[in-house]
Structure formats: structure tokens, C-alpha cells
Symmetry: C2
Subunit: 307 residues, 2 copies
């Protein structure tokens, strides 16, 4: 079933130990949509400027992504510049030009309203909440956020979390949101705010999903997916959004939503994140096949599977 993804479309300028690129297509909605497109139909809600070309849009269209919800505003598209040095887990931001993204007011096309899955990318929690309330027929909502919102719009974020079924954030964000350094304790505190499940993305160490007791009719034991040891991480940008795309995309492609589906979804998230970092920007996510994805899924499975 189709997913609506709300978030940013951006042009990124990135330097890593493997090289540098300028003004390549990026943004949370872009990475998410490309990753999820290998599993299900994806519909994007975002805003771009005059500088967003037909070639840019075709990157999404070629993957069958519905771009009718990409609004064109006067001005420039959101631009971000950053670099990664030896620690590929953390970016140092060189510049952030919000441009048309600053006044982004997500508008859901009527044709999107029958989607049963919704992904709220990392935007102001009030905008996330407004979209979720408008799409009141969805079966499952995934959400992302970042330390910026956790620290500056805490109350608004807490309201939004009541509307989110699965929150996907990293371990640092989990600890900041809960105000607790113990990850399992922090996870429990976050789950008490609303979500039935919390996916903690741990970069090169994989990801762990924590469940609220009784959520999805299952127990509260956590589950962990490993990360693939990758020889050369060329560009970590978008790994988290690609993870979310693989995770939500796989879930939306399944009939049922049970613990086994969520476990496999966590592995597929890792698979898509691992592809994303192999090339700069969205390059690797543009040209995959489902066979490559499933072969890597098996590698992930073997990586941690006891007979």
C-alpha cells in the first residue's frame, strides 16, 4: 500500500574523506522516497524553488514516485553544506540555507488522501501534527525529529508524538528526548510519550527497536538489526532517511503488521542505509534492483544468524 512522505528536498554540498560533491539532490523526503520506492508506491509532499529542474524531478519519477505534492515556490531550494572527517557518524555543518523551505506549509493533494501509511520527516513538530491530523485515515505513521526540535520545541514535539506510531531517531536524540543516558530506560520514557515503537538508529552499529508493552499485540522485548561492516563509507548523508524508507516501505508492502514484519523491516532499513552510503548523495539508491536488495538482506541475516 502507498506511503505519503513529508519532508525536505534539498541540494547538498558534501565533503568526506572519499571526495566532495556540490549541489547534489538530497533532503529527507528524497532519500526516504527513493529507498521506499523499491517496496511500495510513494507519494512525496515537499517544497522546491525555481532551481529544481525537470532532471531533478525525474530522479524520483523514474522510481515511480508520485511528485504531485512537490510544491514549486518562488526562490531557491533548501541548500545544505557539510563535511565528515574521520568520524563518519557525525556531520559538521558548513551552511544551511533554508530558502523556500523556511515557509514550508505541507499541502496534501486530494489524490494522496487514501494512503494508509505516512512518514513525517524531520520538520517542525507542529507541521508534522497538522499533516497527521489532516490524514486521519492512515493506519500507521512513522516520524523523525532532531535535537534542534527536541531542545527548542519540546512541548510541541510531545504533542506530536501522541500521533506517531513509530518514532525513528538516533541514540543521541533518544537520550536527549528522555533526559536519560541509559538507552533502554530512555526508550521506555519515549514510548510513554505516545509511540508504540521506537526505532533507535545507531549508525555503524545497526538499529534497535523497542516496543511499548502490548503494542501490535506483542511483548516488549527489543530487537536489534546489525549493520554491515562497509569498507568505504563514501557519504553518510541520508543514511537515516534511507533506513526509514526501507523500514516503512517494507511494512507498507506487507498485509499484516506483526512483530516478525517489524523485525524484517528493521533489517530492510539497515539494507537501504548500507546502500545509501556507498555512493555520494542519492546515486546508489537510484539504480538498485529488488534482487540486489534481497541478496543484501540475506547477507545481513547471515551476519547475525545462529543455526
Amino acid at each position: 500500500m502507498s506511503i505519503v512522505a513529508v519532508g525536505s528536498v534539498a541540494f547538498d554540498s558534501i565533503a568526506t574523506p572519499s571526495g566532495r560533491v556540490e549541489n547534489v539532490l538530497g533532503g529527507s523526503a528524497t532519500f526516504f522516497a527513493l529507498a521506499a520506492s523499491y517496496f511500495t508506491d510513494v507519494r512525496v509532499v515537499a517544497v522546491v524553488g525555481d532551481d529544481f529542474t525537470a532532471a531533478n524531478e525525474n530522479v524520483l519519477k523514474k522510481r515511480g514516485v508520485d511528485t504531485r505534492g512537490i510544491e514549486r515556490a518562488q526562490g531557491k531550494t533548501f541548500r545544505w553544506g557539510g563535511q565528515y572527517t574521520d568520524n563518519l557518524n557525525e556531520a559538521k555543518t558548513d551552511f544551511t540555507e533554508l530558502n523556500v523551505f523556511e515557509k514550508f506549509q505541507p499541502r496534501i493533494p486530494a489524490a494522496y488522501m487514501d494512503s494508509k501509511f505516512l512518514f513525517l520527516g524531520n520538520i517542525h513538530p507542529n507541521l508534522q501534527a497538522a499533516v497527521r491530523l489532516e490524514m486521519d485515515g492512515v493506519r500507521m505513521t512513522g516520524g523523525d525529529t532532531m535535537n534542534y526540535w527536541i531542545q527548542r520545541t519540546r512541548q510541541e514535539l510531545i504533542e506530536t508524538l501522541k500521533l506517531v506510531n513509530v518514532l525513528l531517531i538516533n541514540d543521541k536524540e533518544t537520550r536527549t528526548l528522555a533526559g536519560d543516558n541509559s538507552l533502554p530506560r530512555a526508550a521506555r520514557k519515549v514510548l510513554a510519550l505516545g509511540p508504540q515503537a521506537l526505532v533507535v538508529k545507531q549508525g555503524e552499529y545497526g538499529a534497535t527497536i523497542f516496543f511499548r508493552e502490548g503494542a501490535f499485540g506483542i511483548g516488549s522485548h527489543p530487537f536489534t538489526a546489525p549493520a554491515l561492516p562497509i569498507e568505504e563509507v563514501k557519504d553518510p548523508t541520508g543514511a537515516g532517511d534511507s533506513f526509514a524508507g526501507g523500514f516503512m516501505g517494507y511494512i507498507a508492502s506487507q498485509e499484516e503488521l506483526n512483530r516478525e514484519v517489524l523485525k524484517r523491516a528493521l533489517f530492510y532499513g539497515g539494507v537501504m542505509g548500507s546502500f545509501a552510503v556507498e555512493q555520494f548523495g542519492t546515486e546508489r539508491l537510484q539504480s538498485l534492483t529488488r534482487a540486489e536488495i534481497d541478496a543484501r538482506f540475506q547477507v545481513f541475516r547471515e551476519l547475525t544468524h545462529l543455526e
Copy 2:
């Protein structure tokens, strides 16, 4: 089959967010021996001072550990003091008093010479090499080291690594030893120095084992064991040595040494490390049962097992 463990016996003074203890029994050989004792017979080679009491020795004896190789020297036992703040992955050392450990010359009792497994705890690489050469009938040698030796006795360490089958170090040590920030690339460089397998301990993120191509008659795909999310890590001291004890102890208890045994050993390592951190010092490792250990092994398995 029995394991000989060479390393330190110490009295530790530790402060963590959960509390503090003074002069509790510790040291690499102690944690290793206690953890391994649940799987196989363990024989310790170490040195202690006049202050090492019969009660201290009984902690090991009660677990059936052979203490005939613990030499008593004039002076005080090795003492270490350290604290962990919010980041429980890293200790800040308050003091190190080597005392009798400074002149430690491992002497292997004749009665130990028929052991087929050897663990070389974190001591000067020349001492490690001498022990290994003396015990020339062993089937498998595991070894540990630390950044101190990697930086100050690099050449000696490289000679020792030629005699070690499985090296167990953490991710930071792996990167320093190889001079490479990419973990899989660093692992390959370390394996080129001699060991057939490298176990990279990743603290709260679990552990990954890398194999030299064709080692143990198996392929070179790595394997990852997760870590159990633990609500309250009371004291991380000794977690790495307890991991090594579970890992080597399980291997020594098995008839064959194949990929499946090594994979399960990695899980048992994680299990013993997870118990160690639940109480201060060696407390938790003194009173376990094999049933508790196997129950937690199942929890680890479920944590990452896809149907």
C-alpha cells in the same frame, strides 16, 4: 578442555553513577577465569602480593579455578582506581599502582602444560610471546592487548600477533593498531599480521568477529553478536575480560572448532559481559548458574533472530 589464563589479579577502586567500591577483587585474569569457569576448567597464571587473602583466593577456588599458578610476591597486589561518568564506555583512571605486577614474569606450573587452550591477557607482548612459546602444545591461543602496548611496543606486539590465533580487542584498539578508521579495512590489516580471527568488542553495541580468508576452513564473512540493552550498567570494569572468558570458555568446551562454534562463542562472550556489568567488580560472576547463562543466551538469540 582446560584453559590457561595469564594476566593480572588486582584490587580495584571504582566509582560509577551507580555507586563506588574500594579494593574489590579484579584484574583481567580474575574476570576471564570466573567467566570461563562456567564452561570449562580454568588455570590461572598471575602474581599477587602479601595483601591477597585466602578469602580472595576462595572467590576463584569456589568456581573450581586452579590457582596453583598464582605466584605470591613480597609487596602489594596491583591496584587500580578509576571512574566512569555518563559515558560508561570509557574509564577515567585515577591511579595505577603496579606493585608486584611490575616485575611479573609468568611461570607456568608443570601441571598446566597439558592445556590445549591459552588466553594471554593484557600484559607486555614479550611476556605474552614467552608464555605462548613455552606452551607449544596448545591448540588455540586467544590474546588481548591495549593502546598502551600498541603505541609503545608496536614491534614486539607484531611479533606476538604471529603466535595468536584469535585477537580480542575493542574497536578503538583495532583502528589504532591498523592505522585505519574503516573497521573492516582495519580488521583485514590486523588479520594480515597473524591472527586467523579478530574479535572486535564494541561495548554496548556488541561484538563482531572477522576471519582471515580460509581460516578454520571457512569463508571470510564477518559475524556480529548484539549486546543486550541493559537498564542500569552498574560497573563496566571487566566486561571485556568477561567477554573473552565466555568466548574462549565456550570454545574450549566444544569438540570441534568451526564457524558455528565461533559464532555461538561470540554470543556467549556477550552473555558473560552483560552479567559482569550488572554488579560491581566480580560479584555477579561469582554466583551464576549455567541455567541462567543459557537462558540469557536465548534472550541474545531472540534479540536478533529472524524466523
